[in-house]
Amino acid sequence: MKQINIFDRAGSFAENKDVAKEIRLQEIVPALSKGEPIVIDFTGVDAATQSFIHAMISDVIRQFGNEILDKITFKSCNETVKKIIAIVADYMQEGLADQ
């Protein structure tokens, strides 16, 4: 199981979409492509923007389908980060029906 630490890459306020893209392309996609489950660890992250979460996971859901969410675990998210992840997961899955 691959562990990805967001605080180490993005700090306590995860807002830099370029960093989110790097995490997606360098860590998330390669692991999932090999069938390896991942844990995205938000320990120490106080807040994240919708844009950051979108840049990190939206294309993963589009590329692999919504069943890929079964292989991703979001660890130690505070309430607002959880809600932002849920918003992005919702609209991406609803949008999949249109593609």
């Binding site: 807002e15 370029d18 807040a47 844009s51 939206s58 849920a86 949008g95 593609q99």
Partner: protein, 245 residues
């Protein structure tokens, strides 16, 4: 604020420069993603806000400035400033660019005739100039401005957006009003103007009353529902209809 300095104009009037810490963020130019991250890390704490309030302000600055860096194609990047008002316990944030403007950006994917039509689309959840696909592109969802308008709406604050010759202003709501988010900005209490002096680019302003920023979590619940309902409606509107004879 450093306006004359940024404009390169020698001011004839005498200007007393105040200490900015705890009061304002002077006009700052941001041209790159890393400059923006550095600005948020170093400048927002200088406003001496509570952690929850600082997060809200950081959120707004990040989303607005990244919009400029990604969409405006302005060679000058984004100019932003903020000021704290003690009497109303509020922060006013302004951000402007001299880029393409909203109409030209939205017109890359949608047919729009006027600046106001473009502003309306830009404020709706899931609409971006980069694609018509639901869910946006890998880097862009078309949600940033909807989130910012929603933060202002839930806080019952002002929010204004000006591009080309059009201006949309979200007006203050009565505190008695039940919180409700609208995907369509024209369904919010608002005013518009369409014959203003032409601004090549986009300017956004938001007043955030700090007493009310603790409602961010409840706001996210409302955003989730409004966003989801809007995407479902749009997808359903594109369903093929069975033909009966």
């Amino acid at each position: 604020m450093g306006l004359f300095e940024k404009l390169g104009i020698k001011a004839d009037i005498s200007i007393v420069e105040h200490e900015s810490a705890g009061r304002f963020i002077p006009i700052t130019q941001i041209k790159t993603s890393s400059e923006l991250s550095k600005f948020i890390t170093e400048m927002i704490p200088l406003l001496h806000l509570e952690p929850e309030q600082a997060r809200t302000i950081g959120y707004i600055v990040s989303e607005l400035a990244r919009n400029v860096l990604e969409h405006s194609k302005s060679e000058h990047g984004a100019f932003l400033c903020a000021q704290y008002y003690k009497k109303s316990n509020s922060i006013r944030i302004g951000i402007a660019d001299t880029g393409l403007g909203i109409k030209a950006t939205i017109a890359q994917s949608y047919s729009v005739q006027t600046d106001m039509e473009a502003i309306k689309l830009a404020l709706m959840p899931g609409i971006t100039g980069t694609t018509r696909k639901e869910g946006g592109t890998e880097q862009n969802a078309g949600a940033g401005l909807f989130f910012i308008k929603s933060i202002a709406s839930v806080n019952r604050d002002f929010f204004v957006i000006y591009s080309g010759s059009a201006l949309y202003k979200l007006l203050k709501k009565s505190i008695k009003n039940v919180l409700r988010l609208n995907a369509d900005p024209f369904k919010d209490r608002h005013s518009t103007e369409e014959d203003l002096p032409y601004w090549q680019g986009t300017a956004v302003g938001a007043d955030i009353t700090l007493d009310r920023t603790a409602e961010f979590s409840a706001l996210l619940d409302a955003i989730r529902k409004t966003y989801s309902d809007t995407v479902k409606e749009r997808v359903k509107a594109r369903y093929r209809k069975p033909k009966f004879i």
